[in-house]
């Protein structure tokens, strides 16, 4: 009996180690926003190649900490690092996937796309300067819409988040009052309102509190059938949050001149550009001690760029444009080297 158990154990261990030899494991950590699509890609990629992709969705800040501590092969962040910060840490970054942040409201009688706001009005609502739904500045943007005299209940994220980073980045660009008093960060000192934990927390508060306004990632607004708001973009058009309009914002972006891919897609030019669009980034070291693993990471992301677009669209993300993918892969080949200077991506 003992012998049999031993034999079984030995077979199991051998089996596992054989498998481990055949298939590498890629370890990454970071942003929660792209987690569903990375997970989907990882599953499909694993089926095809046997390579295991292990991604810990611990948040952008956590991802940056982990890559700096060198406990993972790549980090992921919703907010791009500034070129100086990248150079200081010896890191490089590239955009992987895009999405949009959408203001949502809960006002009796107002459905999706029936309310239009401009950037500075949105900022002043979050600054507690506009406190009633029938404020003259809101009614002026919405002729013919019956707005109640109710108080506006502001909802924001309670946790630090890339979504907040993108949202406050937009408000900073369109409102001098916001830029001066609050600023752009993953967590800010909100002048008013309730904090919900995570996208689902904000979505729950907005659907529970009458007269509320919040902001969530596009997928949450869609899946929870929330009343999204139209925004006036830089070109002065009222645009709806749709995948096509996110892509319009990305298409107009000048990636070629963005040093270190430091590119924020908020308030982009273009007739149809949704103004609160953002990209999620991957962080890797320029000098790789373990070129084989780095190559596996790049192979995975290359595969995802080329085969992952449809999976991403199904989950309401926006894939990167062809042009940008070509640029990114050129950067891989130029910037990522093994310890003795050899190119890893050819």
């Amino acid at each position: 009996m003992k012998k049999m158990i031993f034999a079984a154990l030995a077979a199991l261990t051998l089996g596992f180690s054989a498998q481990a030899n055949a298939a590498a494991t890629i370890n990454g950590a970071g942003a929660t926003f792209p987690y569903p699509v990375y997970g989907k890609w990882a599953h499909a990629y694993n089926k095809e190649t046997g390579v295991r992709f292990n991604y810990q969705a611990i948040g952008s800040g956590g991802g940056i900490k982990q890559i700096k501590a060198k406990t993972v092969d790549f980090g992921a962040s919703d907010a791009p690092l500034k070129p100086e910060a990248l150079d200081k840490a010896g890191l490089m970054q590239y955009p992987m996937i895009m999405g949009g942040v959408v203001p949502v409201v809960n006002i009796a009688g107002i459905g999706a796309g029936q309310l239009t706001l401009s950037g500075d009005v949105l900022a002043d609502i979050y600054l507690n300067k506009i406190t009633k739904w029938n404020d003259a500045r809101i009614t002026k943007l919405n002729p013919g819409v019956n707005l109640p005299a109710d108080a506006i209940a502001v909802v924001h994220r309670a946790d630090g988040s890339g979504t907040t980073w993108i949202f406050t980045n937009y408000l900073t660009k369109v409102s001098t009052g916001w830029a001066k008093n609050i600023g752009n960060s993953k967590a800010v000192a909100w002048p008013t309102g309730l904090g919900g934990k995570g996208n689902q927390g904000v979505a729950a508060f907005v659907s529970k509190v009458p007269g509320s306004i919040g902001y969530v990632e596009y997928a949450y607004a869609l899946q929870n059938h929330m009343a999204s708001v139209k925004l006036l973009n830089q070109a002065g058009n009222a645009v709806s949050p749709t995948a096509a309009n996110f892509q319009a914002a990305a298409a107009g972006a000048d990636w070629a001149h963005a040093k270190g891919y430091y590119m924020v897609l908020t308030n982009q030019p273009g007739a149809n550009s949704w103004p609160i669009t953002g990209a999620s980034f991957i962080l890797m070291y320029k000098s790789q001690k373990n070129p084989a693993t780095a190559k596996e990471v790049l192979k995975f992301f290359d595969w995802s760029y080329k085969h992952g677009a449809d999976m991403a669209k199904k989950l309401d993300y926006v894939p990167m444009p062809e042009k940008v993918i070509k640029m990114v892969e050129k950067t891989w080949s130029a910037d990522i080297r093994s310890a003795n200077g050899d190119k890893i991506w050819k």
Binding site: G59, G61, A158, D159, G160, K186, A189, K197, V209
Partner: protein, 311 residues
């Protein structure tokens, strides 16, 4: 193996047992000191920068790197106070009912139900609070308080269902099973002949409870209350769901606030920058000290009470 009372090295099993158990006990003390030391050490950057003002400043601004704990401290204490205010009488009532008044067929099932409630993870209470309690509070309880008692600063902000009061209520519901089930056990341990003597002297049900059972079990009851208190002070998820997570100082229980534990849960993962992280750790240190002080005060109060009662 033969059970030898002495091993070769000359240790008796008794001595070994004593050594082992004192090591376990010492482990708690060491753990306490190590945790305190680590928290203290890691919050140095924030202590150096803000000093005492950390405790009395209501600023919490990650953009400008200004941190103060006042709002979180007040939120923690207020929610705990509201929770104890509701939970204490209710759980004593439940315990007395189950130990004294309830018919025998009822005691077993209801007792088990309470113990089961005590085992539910707190996040379930949080979600239930958000999806069930919050709408009730927003549509009926808080509007009533606001319209009838709105002249008091305590209920002076518009009712939205999310805030300190709801957080306290959910906390209360969470700790009631704890306090009630332990207190019931304490009441059941009260010797029958003590109670019967009191009844024999003509005491009423209420007098027996007040003059025999509660004084007899006061230590155990206090222990149960401390457990509930400790849990309420440090509770994270249940509070995070319903407190509103807002850094605004308000007298009103209807306004959203923040607690130390929920601030930590919300912000730790995304905190970058040394000062931000260290301020969060200092918040943890503050919570540690608050819990320590509150429980010590309770202990002291209990001992002084003992002297008065002559126990």
């Amino acid at each position: 193996m033969p059970a030898a009372s002495t091993s070769k090295s000359g240790f008796s099993a008794d001595q070994l047992f004593r050594l082992l158990t004192s090591a376990f006990a010492a482990f708690i003390a060491v753990l306490f000191i190590v945790m305190l030391a680590v928290l203290w050490h890691q919050s140095q950057p924030s202590i150096d920068k803000f000093g005492f003002s950390f405790l009395i400043s209501s600023d919490w601004n990650p953009v400008t790197d200004q941190y103060g704990a006042l709002i979180a401290i007040i939120g923690t204490l207020l929610t705990t106070f509201v929770a104890m205010f509701i939970a204490l009488p209710v759980s004593l009532g439940i315990a007395l009912f189950l130990a004294e008044i309830a018919p025998y067929w009822m005691r077993g099932p209801v007792g088990t139900a309470i113990e089961l409630l005590a085992a539910i993870p707190s996040i379930v209470y949080g979600m239930w609070g958000l999806f069930v309690i919050v709408p009730i509070m927003a549509s009926s309880v808080e509007p009533w308080l606001y319209h009838h008692l709105g002249f008091l600063p305590l209920f002076s902000t518009p009712p939205i269902g999310i805030g300190i009061l709801t957080a306290g209520l959910v906390l209360a519901l969470m700790i009631i099973p704890f306090i009630a089930s332990i207190t019931r056990d304490v009441f059941l341990m009260c010797p029958q002949n003590l109670k019967e003597s009191a009844y024999g002297l003509g005491a009423t049900n209420w007098e027996v409870v007040k003059d025999v059972m509660i004084p007899y079990g006061i230590k155990g009851i206090a222990g149960a209350v401390f457990l509930g208190l400790g849990r309420a002070l440090g509770e994270t998820m249940a509070v995070t769901f319903v407190i509103g997570n807002a850094y605004h100082l308000s007298w009103s229980l209807l306004a959203p606030g923040n607690s130390i534990a929920s601030t930590l849960a919300n912000e730790f993962t995304e905190a970058d920058g040394e000062l931000y992280t260290s301020s969060l750790i200092e918040l943890g240190l503050v919570l540690f000290l608050i819990t320590f002080i509150v429980l010590s005060l309770a202990e002291i109060w209990l001992h002084s009470g003992n002297k008065k009662r002559g126990i």
